[in-house]
């Protein structure tokens, strides 16, 4: 009985991230539109887009290989698993022993790998440009993410997210400058990884500036739906990750009752709404930067992660 209950909870977690992801994207778009005094599409628009894309016919390039057709499903699967591993409304679920921060980074890395390969598969110049830029960003964003993970793990004494959340809620953390640096670094990495302004513009099809859109330009129909859903899931993953590490309040403890789970879900919804609104405000208030300035921007994240780890080294060896 207990096992079934645990499995149901885990299933709910996987469904929650899947169902909420397009809504978060819709919310960000809506807030951005309102901030620029436009009406904007309704928040539910991404769901309708996905439904429309699923119905549509897939148009493939003549020289597209099997990799091009398989990649969307691989990318979607890897991103979904990664997003489902991040604690959203409860910790200590059945599969939480696999919810390791390094495993999440690895899953996202393999999704990126297949996306870049698929971008180059058909051989259009846009896809190649997108893939090469994505790799340039990834080459700095991934080490920065790992360094952030290390400094969080050094503070909490574990890379397992359930344990990290447990430590952060226990109030033993005190005043830690390294945690603040890790937060800023993680936010920068999240902005770069999700192709948001100032690194990339998710709404543009101007060839000079696009990165993510250039890679997926050849996709259509259900393939495109998979990719869009995967990028929504990735955005949700980062918001949930930042939420569960740095504002862990409200998450239900292991073995919590039904009421606690509802509170956890409500707090997760509030965190998502706040995160999405903050992202939209940030994106509206800043200009897109030149592609060749991106390494400097991400370099700041790398530096913060490294400095945070160094500082932890100092305070631990005293």
């Amino acid at each position: 009985m207990e096992l079934i209950q645990n499995l149901v909870l885990q299933g709910v977690q996987m469904l929650v991230v899947l169902v909420l992801a397009p809504g978060l994207t819709g919310l960000v778009r809506k807030v951005k539109a309102r901030l620029t005094r436009r009406q904007g599409a309704p928040i539910l628009q991404p769901y309708r887009d996905l439904a429309r894309l699923m119905r549509k016919e897939v148009v493939l390039a003549e020289n597209a290989s099997w990799l091009f057709r398989v990649s969307p499903y691989l990318i979607f699967a890897a991103t979904w698993v990664a997003a489902a591993l991040v604690p959203t409304f409860a910790v200590g679920l059945v599969f939480s022993w696999t919810a390791d921060l390094i495993a999440i980074v690895a899953l996202l890395g393999s999704a990126r790998f297949f996306l870049a390969l698929a971008g180059m598969d058909v051989g259009t110049s846009f896809g190649d440009i997108g893939s090469s830029r994505e790799m340039m960003i990834g080459a700095i964003a991934e080490p920065a993410m790992l360094l952030t993970v290390f400094s969080v793990a050094l503070i909490a004494g574990s890379t397992q997210l359930s344990n990290v959340v447990g430590f952060m809620t226990s109030g033993e953390i005190g005043i830690r400058v390294s945690a603040g640096m890790a937060l800023v670094a993680l936010v920068i990495v999240a902005i770069a990884e999700n192709a948001r302004i100032p690194v990339d513009n998710p709404a543009t099809h101007l060839e000079l500036t696009m990165v993510h859109e250039a890679m997926v330009l050849e996709y259509s129909g259900r393939h495109l739906a998979m990719i869009e859903l995967a990028s929504s899931l990735k955005l949700l993953l980062y918001v949930a990750l930042i939420g569960c590490i740095f504002v862990p309040w409200g998450i239900a403890a292991p073995g919590a009752g039904f009421a606690d789970l509802v509170v956890g879900l409500a707090s997760f919804l509030v965190k998502l709404a706040l995160g999405g609104t903050m992202l939209a405000v940030f994106e509206t208030s800043i200009a897109k930067m030149r592609v060749f300035r991106v390494p400097e921007f991400l370099g700041a994240a790398l530096m913060l992660g490294l400095l945070g780890t160094l500082l932890l080294f100092v305070s631990r060896s005293l």
Binding site: I175, V177, S178, P295, E296, L307, L310, L311, V314, S315
Partner: protein, 221 residues
């Protein structure tokens, strides 16, 4: 439950190191001066916190000196200078930002390793940590002087180096107050001398880019 005295000292001292990195990262001259003022402000807080936990009243005077001279008068004077020199452009750097950052990281790691080993005998954790961070700030200030070509940002590098010295002086107990006062005033004098120099360089070469000095000395054609 917590050693808040240590936590806050750690927070302030490590923010000084962080702001040193922001100085290296920054490539606009006015923003550079603002970040420098921020560093001096943080230094004033760090010194005042040390005065509080050590119960050493003369350190409050040091904090006040840092606040009034370094966070207000020096940035203001540099602002005026930049205005009168008319150099509101981006700062030219000798090497790129990213390699400089990496070198800076190496310097911080070096000073942390060195200082933690050297001060193993000292029992006060705060003093050991302050010494490690102040050496980092000093080295980063030197790095900034080396990697910038604009004379004004070299001055900022020099001043931030001096911030590191003050941090070291307050962390180590028993630094005579006279020494601190004299250091503070010698920095002010240096500031005035450098200011005069800046205008002389500008008068002579029509720029404050120190690379032209190499040509003038015949080291580069």
């Amino acid at each position: 439950m917590h050693d808040y005295a240590f936590d806050i000292a750690h927070l302030l001292a490590s923010s000084l190191v962080l702001v040193s990195f922001m100085l290296i990262y920054q490539d606009r001259i006015y923003a550079l001066l603002n970040v420098f003022a921020l560093q001096a402000l943080l230094l004033a807080f760090a010194v005042a916190w040390q005065a509080w936990i050590q119960g050493a009243h003369h350190l409050y005077v040091s904090a006040a000196i840092a606040l009034i001279f370094k966070a207000m008068i020096v940035p203001w004077a540099l602002h005026r200078m930049v205005q009168r020199l008319g150099i509101q452009r981006e700062v030219e750097t000798v090497v790129g930002v990213v390699p400089t950052m990496l070198v800076g990281m190496g310097l911080v790691a070096l000073s942390v390793l060195l200082m933690l080993q050297l001060t193993e005998a000292a029992e006060s954790a705060i003093a050991r940590e302050d010494l490690a961070f102040s050496l980092s700030v000093i080295l980063l200030g030197m790095l900034m002087m080396v990697t910038r070509r604009n004379a004004v940002s070299q001055v900022v590098g020099f001043m931030s180096l001096e911030n590191g010295l003050i941090l070291a002086a307050t962390g180590a107990q028993g630094m005579p107050f006279v020494v601190e006062i004299s250091v503070a005033f010698s920095v002010l004098i240096a500031m005035i001398v450098i200011g005069v120099f800046l205008f002389r360089i500008r008068e002579r070469f029509d720029t404050v880019d120190v690379e032209v000095l190499d040509q003038y000395r015949g080291e580069r054609q």
